[in-house]
Symmetry: none
DNA sequence: CATGAATGAGGATTCATTCAT
DNA sequence: GATGAATGAATCCTCATTCAT
């Protein structure tokens, strides 16, 4: 990827800045363009699809998740690791509405996104398996299932107040324990 | 409400039958009309708004939920009651995709729907309070929060396979227990 | 015309009563039917076209105009005759919004309406000609032109307050005088 | 307002050209688009509402009226001024069917239109007041009332032949004189 | 006769996407 | 590269009129 021309970089930044103020599930490219003070075409040049824009929006959050996964992998205590990780995942998903679609999407536009998701998935799996081996989490659950449960919790929180996050996470963690 | 004329009843039935084959969240009235072999106007006559149609679609399911709530209220064991009820709620929501929107909607088009939701809500509350008093469910949760959790579980199941329902429900029930 | 069955007469009366509460220029037959508590079909049976309904609505007013025209024809003073007549015409048109369309329409649905319009037209012509002969009204105007002027005045009054009627009529009468 | 791109200008011109061939009171945007050989969206881009299109259609005529009002204001003879002005107003309204709605509308989409109407109204008022002071026009009439009378005359002419314009205007002018 | 369900053309409006400038 | 005008399918909804019941 060649370095972006300075004006192109500015456009890109403005687009992202504006897009972040919108509901990721209902991005109107024309609106974003107008508010960002650029032409629609410019938006399409930078982000060929809506999904590409959403990916870009989640980039930082995805990166933070990757770091947190690494930390969880490095964490000696299996229980602390899985606890922290689920906590982090839920927090980040709630913080950045576009994250869930990006994580769940089978197709990634951006290679960095794919790589990040790849590492996140693998790390998550390690943490989960270790927790299961340690008897902290039911053995009959796949990584994907746990991820879906986190998404379900995000959904539940979004139906009510943000403060529900705490209890819901406790419920999830308690529920995941064997027996 | 006068009894429906036979032809009107047939139209209504056809519309509902067709609508049931569509995603409740993306009902295109024109499509429904065409597939049902009736004019658009007919659809609008029977269902002034999309929500009215969704309500009609969920009518039976809502009724079944009402009955199940009554049974749960009548059930002597607090634990069995809440278990059965959550089970039923999740099952029905998964069976009928339009149920969650109807349950969550603040405005009801149909009076029967409102009455049903009213009774369901009250019954649910009773069952929950009893379970909390019996020490089967955390005391810090409101009825609404538990309902949201069920919706979250529905969401989680929909992201994967229908067979996830069992484990997820167990997780929810286990997670709801105090301590 | 055979005597109407009592229920038919009642329907007709109800329809007219309701229709009178609507803007004659924007009659929605379905609305009228619903508000009148009859089926649309009934409205169509009584009034095959919207115009037929408007004619029926104006029937009484048309009759009153006919009487006033007769009085004007009988009035000895040419000036008083034309003055009273224009006054009456404008008043009635303002009172009954459907009157202008009926008077201007080339096609009449109802024979009585045609007869009334016929007599009104003839009488109006007589009154006007006499006024012109007496030097009270410009000689270069046809009956139709004067009628159009009255319609124009109605239009002008409708753009503002009903109280404009007085001055506008004076202006019309003054303007019609020769020289 | 940036200068219009040449292609946009062409579209705009075509739309206006086509719209001018329609009854201003019954503009069907889809029809206009089709006849103009442009997409519906293009019409909406240029003219967000039907009224905006009508305003654009009347732009030139409105401008001509503005000029004529200025001339009337500059005219030394109060009588000539009001005579010419009423003449001009009636002529232009008859020429451009959309003018009356634009003049009467309380809300203007375009700032130039508002400014033009503003100046026209003020100038008209000056000319009228001067005519009243000179004893050429009844003192009991407001500007708005005189405007409504012109609209009434337009209506009257439209009911018959265009050649009625002359006599009707004379009648109006004569009628407006005091006593 | 009365009913009112059904019709479906008609009209308004939006928005993702393309492409000429 | 950037622009934003143009596109037009898609969708919604209304209402005058017909006709089966």
């Amino acid at each position: 990827m060649p370095a972006l021309r300075s004006d192109a970089a500015r456009s890109r930044a403005r687009i992202l800045e504006v897009a972040r103020r919108h509901d990721p599930g209902a991005l109107r490219l024309n609106d974003v363009a107008r508010e960002a003070g650029v032409g629609v075409g410019t938006v399409y040049r930078h982000f060929p699809t809506t999904h590409a824009l959403v990916e870009a929006l989640t980039r930082d959050t995805l990166e933070r998740l990757r770091v947190l996964v690494r930390e969880a992998v490095a964490e000696p205590s299996p229980e602390t690791a899985i606890t922290n990780l689920l906590h982090a995942a839920l927090d980040l998903q709630l913080e950045e509405g576009g994250l869930q679609p990006v994580l769940l999407s089978a197709e990634d536009e951006d290679d960095d996104v794919r790589a990040a998701k790849q590492e996140i998935g693998t790390g998550f799996e390690q943490v989960l398996v270790r927790a299961q081996a340690a008897g902290v989490v039911r053995r009959d659950l796949s990584t994907q299932q746990v991820e879906h449960l986190v998404c379900g919790m995000e959904h539940a929180v979004r139906l009510g107040a943000a403060s529900d996050r705490g209890p819901y996470l406790e419920i999830l963690l308690a529920g995941l324990r064997p027996d």
